[in-house]
């Protein structure tokens, strides 16, 4: 049951963004780069979606393809719709202008995202003055209000400043305020906190969540860092090599059967209680190249799985992936594959075994409390006790 692109006459569906079978290719000197290989995803109005993956996995490009911001010369195929409007019916410029008003984007690098030779006032006001024909004074008032909301002190005076007079964290707040000027239906935070100090990250993320709740916007949080996404999103998409390899409600992200790649991402997060000399696990080999030919889903999975499996010295049984033909509707029915049972613990590899061993020695649950591993530890513990 894939979400259909409805016409204007039909009642509005619950899907704000709907992408089907999106493919993105660019010609480069070394050959054709297949950046997106048939991805499908959807976002409901008001929901928060997390997109996780390595750099180069295609997560930013997917969003850019929807927004019409891909580099020139790129070829896009597939169906995209925004608010039930088929985007292919619009010409490129018109589409970009329309989406520019309805989607706010906060990019990764606050140091370079603002024009250094123009004031904050101009940059904050230009979108809303163009799209909604606000006067200069109205735009200014709106800007001050927004800057207040995002926590910039002395907003009225700061409007006349230039970007270099703000610190990194402040600039990112300005970016957020800027993205909200046209009251968008969707806010995209594309690695918005990656370039920031960890201490500032939390503040920004909290701010985003708060704003989203207040305005009932949909939000997409893109990150390579699982910890940013978990706990703040309703659903999660994991991307790898230009494909979506895992999707599920965030609450079930760490429930077995854990996807081996998600698993790998998780394990890369250092824990505060780890020994300082602990080496973080790594995946052997190299990531798939965009120039690799496009393979059908099963073959690609098989190839990738091999790489993911190197994270453990020994992996018992490969994890069963959710069926390749995932669509938007699957978020309703989170298909998690094989049920969890005692012997299946081994199917998630050595981690579970270690956890078991740890638990057997005592203490892992307490240690894991408050960290990402808490869920796993609890799940393993309850399995151990056979309550599942």
């Amino acid at each position: 049951m894939s979400a259909r692109i409805t016409t204007a006459a039909a009642p509005a569906s619950e899907w704000l963004v709907n992408v089907e079978d999106l493919t993105l290719e660019i010609d480069a000197p070394q050959g054709t780069a297949h950046i997106l290989r048939g991805v499908s995803m959807a976002v409901r109005r008001g929901e928060t979606l997390g997109i996780v993956g390595e750099s180069g996995s295609g997560k930013s490009m997917m969003l850019r393809a929807v927004l019409g911001l891909t580099p020139s010369g790129s070829r896009i195929e597939g169906r995209m719709s925004f608010d039930d409007q088929d985007l292919s019916t619009l010409k490129a410029e018109a589409r970009r202008v329309m989406l520019g008003r309805r989607v706010g984007v906060v990019f990764q690098n606050p140091m370079t995202s603002l024009n250094p030779v123009r004031t904050i006032e101009t940059q904050m006001g230009e979108a809303v003055r163009f799209h909604q024909k606000l006067s200069r004074r109205q735009a200014r008032d709106l800007s001050i209000e927004l800057l207040d909301q995002v926590g910039i002190p002395n907003a009225a005076k700061r409007l006349r400043d230039y970007p270099h007079q703000f610190s990194g964290g402040m600039r990112q707040r300005v970016m957020i305020a800027m993205a909200l000027t046209c009251s968008p239906d969707l806010l995209i935070a594309d690695e918005a906190t990656t370039a920031l100090d960890v201490t500032i990250q939390k503040g920004i993320l909290d701010l985003l969540q708060q704003l989203q709740a207040e305005r009932r916007m949909a939000m997409i949080i893109v990150s390579h860092d699982l910890s940013v996404v978990s706990g703040r999103t309703d659903n999660v998409i994991v991307m790898y090599g230009g494909r979506i390899v895992d999707r599920r409600p965030t609450a079930q992200l760490f429930e077995p059967p854990i996807h081996p790649y998600t698993h790998a991402l998780m394990r890369a997060i250092p824990r505060l209680d780890m020994d300082a000399r602990t080496r973080l696990p790594a995946m052997g080999g190299s990531p798939p190249s965009v120039f690799d030919p496009v393979l059908p889903a099963e073959e690609a999975d098989a190839r990738d799985r091999h790489r993911w499996s190197t994270i453990s010295a020994a992996i018992e049984d490969p994890v069963e992936l959710a069926v390749a033909d995932v669509t938007a509707a699957d978020f309703d029915t989170a298909e998690t594959g094989t049920p969890v049972g005692g012997s299946e613990i081994a199917s998630v590899g050595v981690l579970a075994a270690e956890q078991q061993a740890g638990i057997a020695e005592g203490g892992d649950v307490e240690v894991a409390t408050g960290t990402l591993y808490e869920e796993i530890a609890r799940a393993d513990t309850s399995t151990e006790e056979g309550t599942r």
Binding site: Q30, N109, V350
Partner: protein, 316 residues
């Protein structure tokens, strides 16, 4: 399948395996790079074809100029082989027709190339020696030396080059020697600025600081660390400067301050030809085309080298 082994002790455990970040640190900076793995192609105005043309043309020109005396059938440049402004014919001498006095255009162009190329090369060398010396010393020692270098460079550039040249040539004399010295002085300004800038950029780098800390003598540092970094910068500038030299020498000859007749020079030929260009266009056409192609070739090579050495186009 509990292994019963404590995770920390197990050498096969992922925790003790080598550390490579699973997740590569994201690229900061321009997130507009297509994707990390696509090389961004530097736009070049000079295609491969143009470069080859430039090389071939210059080679032919140099060979012709050097071995002019041995080209069979080529008359001397001051030899009258025909009447006033004859049309081109099929003889070697008359290939490009004759000029206003009946001399072979082809011959005059080839011998004129000698003048232009010699002047260009020698004046470039002079300019390089003076300019790089001043620039490196100023850039390396900073302080007073740098101020002096700045003053010299500014003095040289404050005056329009042609005027400076006129004055110098009038003073020294319009001989090969005089003109090359004058041109060398004028272009030294460019070399001073470029080398000073490059040296200042290099000296702040750590390996120079390190060498200094190790007690390496200044001369050693300059020769081993700084000069090698200067070479690519200069390599891009030199062909362009030579193009300028050729043009300026042409201007001098055009105004009558160049090498005196009867030695042919392109600028002089153009000046002479402009008087009769209405009725006899080929007399002026050949030196113009030759000059144009030569300058174009130097510029093309310079463009190519500068795009290879990452020197920004806008830098002067």
């Amino acid at each position: 399948m509990t292994t019963g082994i404590r995770p920390e002790a197990d050498p096969a455990s992922p925790r003790t395996q080598g550390f490579n970040a699973v997740l590569k640190p994201p690229r900061l900076g321009t997130s507009l790079t297509l994707i990390p793995r696509l090389r961004r192609r530097r736009p070049r105005h000079v295609g491969r074809g143009m470069l080859w043309f430039a090389i071939i043309w210059l080679t032919v020109l140099v060979l012709a100029a050097v071995f002019a005396d041995f080209i069979p059938g080529l008359p001397a440049p001051d030899e009258k082989i025909g009447t006033f402004a004859q049309r081109p014919d099929l003889s070697v001498g008359g290939l490009l027709g004759t000029d206003g006095i009946g001399r072979s255009n082809l011959s005059r162009i080839i011998y004129g190339a000698r003048v232009s190329l010699t002047i260009a090369v020698v004046s470039t060398i002079i300019g390089l020696l003076v300019g790089v010396l001043v620039g490196v010393i100023g850039g390396y020692y900073r302080g007073v030396a740098e101020s002096v270098a700045n003053v010299i460079a500014n003095c040289l550039s404050a005056l329009p080059p042609l005027l400076l040249l006129l004055a110098l040539v009038s003073a020294i004399g319009a001989s090969l020697f005089g003109i090359t010295i004058a041109l060398g002085v004028v272009i030294a300004d460019l070399y001073i600025r470029v080398s000073k800038g490059a040296v200042i950029g290099t000296t702040s780098r750590e390996y120079v600081l390190a060498a200094r800390a190790l007690g390496a003598g200044d001369l050693r540092i300059i020769v081993k660390e700084i000069l090698p970094n200067l070479v690519p910068v200069l390599a891009a500038i030199i062909p362009m400067a030579m193009a300028i030299m050729i043009v300026v020498e042409g201007s001098l000859s055009f105004l009558g301050y160049g090498i005196p007749a009867p030695t042919p020079s392109w600028g002089g030929m153009i000046a002479a030809g402009s008087d009769i260009m209405r009725q006899f266009p080929w007399v002026i056409a050949w030196p113009v085309i030759t000059l144009f192609l030569t300058v174009l070739s130097f510029n093309a090579i310079g463009d190519y080298l500068s795009s290879r050495t990452d020197v920004r186009e806008a830098k002067l």
